[in-house]
Amino acid sequence: MASFKYESQVRAPLVDGSKDYHQVTEDIVRPIEAPPSRAWWIGFVISVALLLFGVYSIYREVTYGVGQWNLHKTIGWGWDITNFVWWVGIGHAGTLISAILLLFRQGWRTGVNRAAEAMTIFAVMCAGQFPIWHMGRVWMAFFVLPYPNTRGPLWVNFNSPLLWDVFAISTYFTVSLLFWYSGLIPDFATIRDRAKLKWRKLTYGLLAFGWTGSTKHWQRHESLSLVLAGLSTPLVLSVHTVVSFDFATSVVPGWHTTIFPPYFVAGAIFSGFAMVQTLLLVTRKVLALEDYITMEHIEVMNKVIVLTGSIVGIAYLTELFIAWYGQNPYEGYAFMKNRLDLFSPYGWSYWLMMACNVISPQIFWFRKLRRNIVVTFFMSVIVNIGMWFERFVIIVTSIYRDYIPSSWAVYYRPTIWEVGFYLGTFGLFFTCYFLFSKFFPVIAIAEIKHILKKSGESYKKEMGHVEKESADSLFHEVHAAHH
């Protein structure tokens, strides 16, 4: 393997165990060809039940109106938009892994990118539900699209961040889906070509689009992936920037800050990586993929979590500083009174956010804890709770005390149907993820094969020998030259 000698020996292998290309195919396709386990069925049924509860909650909301939720004139955005921002944020880690790390030539992305991209797509699907059903008269949802109409024509407002969001989210979903699917085509062909059952041959034959593995097609495929990664990179940054504009371009104290775009993007990646950890720690165990999603992968992602968590922490502190330094009484009140004051009605949520997002991830400075699966799983859940509260804090604590004290809100708590809608999106997310993990290759087969001879454990051993030998001979040559 002389041609792959440039891979550093200092780095741990990304694929454990001694494997060849065929073994990689076997390992990844095996769960697809085996009947689903009992655990899969239990998880799937629970997810579908949650989804049905969500559908019923939406049915109530559509039938009786937005009054089914505890929103009112002062708190117009409550759980609903909190959940929207939370789900969009989760999606961002998938694109970061699939696109940005591809441009940065990070080999470790290969083990986790397929599942992370799937997570992106399902998370954006969940996110999209919230603004749509929040409209109330959902049958008029198409009014958000600019098209010539008989109402004037009355166009949408292109200067409004809410319309930017329509474009950002729909483009993000479409591009992520195309990127994901173009990567899946060769892997579907792998499953198709080894399928014995008639229905499997038919289904994967349709999904694989007649892929053959021709060199010319691979050349175009590589070029396509690279350009899509190049397009997705600014896209993913723009999406959460635009989401933050929904708040930052308003004149509401607590929202009206220029720090929002980078702060939102960092938070999105932070929560997204936590969700990737939650999903993959279970997936690798259940599907026996520990050789592909290794301790190295988990450790690297924990490093991203401590980094982005600290960026978010600095953003929180900067906001507080500017609120004090700016001497704007309204902004000062929103930050010092409505958030920082633990005994204000929602002060508890601010401190919960601080504890979950800023303080607790600091444990990942310790290598031992970064490499501990139980700690990682626990932390991934904590981070996502914290990030949900971040959005809750931003939305509710900024608006529940208006400019006019007479319109200050009574204590806002969600109705069962508001909670039900949120649980329903969990149902949607996990139903999709369970189907994905059963019928789709959870790891990008062709891409793993691509790094196998550089970063596979057995190949690394061989290379270590080669490298050592050449270093020794170099030493002798230099030594001889000096005498």
């Binding site: 591009v175 198709r192 349709l206 593995g213």
Partner: protein, 195 residues
């Protein structure tokens, strides 16, 4: 397209394929294609394939998207329905940047994927001849076309000396047809299909 005769051989290692491609081109055999389960970097160059222009197509789709977004929004907000928003200018370019950017990305991505599928003839119900079932698993499958200038047994001997596995001759359709992978027959008769 056309039915032709091919000699097929399989390799396990990338190095073997590079070696075989170089030697085959030196002798002057007509390389039909090499089918690999993973992208083998540099193989396209070794085979003498030209670079793909798909990224150029992507650029053109992208700027088309930018132009469409800018011209449509500009026309709507300055000509068709000029809204007075606090007396601000109708031509509010900075506020349009997000949508122009998103639409650029959307057009570039959708256009490129469609172009990719068109160039590689990828679609549901598209069927092609597969020279070896493990070309998508672990074998690098080299396919050499038998032309009037080359001899079938000579090519077979050539592949055998390179230690290729499963060397065999196949007569195959080079184009695609409408079909399903669980059935052998075509969805339509030959007259209705033209590649």
């Amino acid at each position: 397209m056309a039915v032709k005769k091919f000699v097929v051989g399989c390799f396990n290692e990338e190095e073997q394929v590079f070696d075989a491609v170089k030697k085959a081109r030196k002798i002057g055999y007509k390389l039909h294609d090499v089918y690999t389960p993973l992208p083998v970097h540099g193989l396209d160059k070794a085979m003498g394939l030209r670079d793909t222009s798909i990224h150029t197509a992507g650029f053109i789709y992208g700027i088309t998207g930018t132009t469409i977004a800018l011209s449509c929004i500009a026309w709507i907000f300055t000509q068709d329905w000029p809204l007075n928003i606090g007396g601000k200018p109708h031509f509010a370019l900075p506020a349009w940047i997000p949508i122009m950017f998103e639409f650029t990305v959307l057009c570039a991505a959708v256009g490129m994927v469609l172009t990719f599928c068109y160039l590689c003839q990828l679609a549901p119900f598209v069927r092609k001849h597969h020279f070896h079932p493990r070309a998508t698993d672990d074998k690098m499958v080299m396919v050499i076309e038998v032309t009037p200038k080359s001899d079938e047994s000579e090519i077979t001997g050539f592949l055998n000396t390179l230690k290729a596995e499963d060397v065999n001759t196949q007569i195959a359709e080079t184009g695609w047809w409408l079909g399903r992978y669980d059935r052998e027959q075509k969805l339509y008769s030959d007259e209705t299909v033209s590649a």
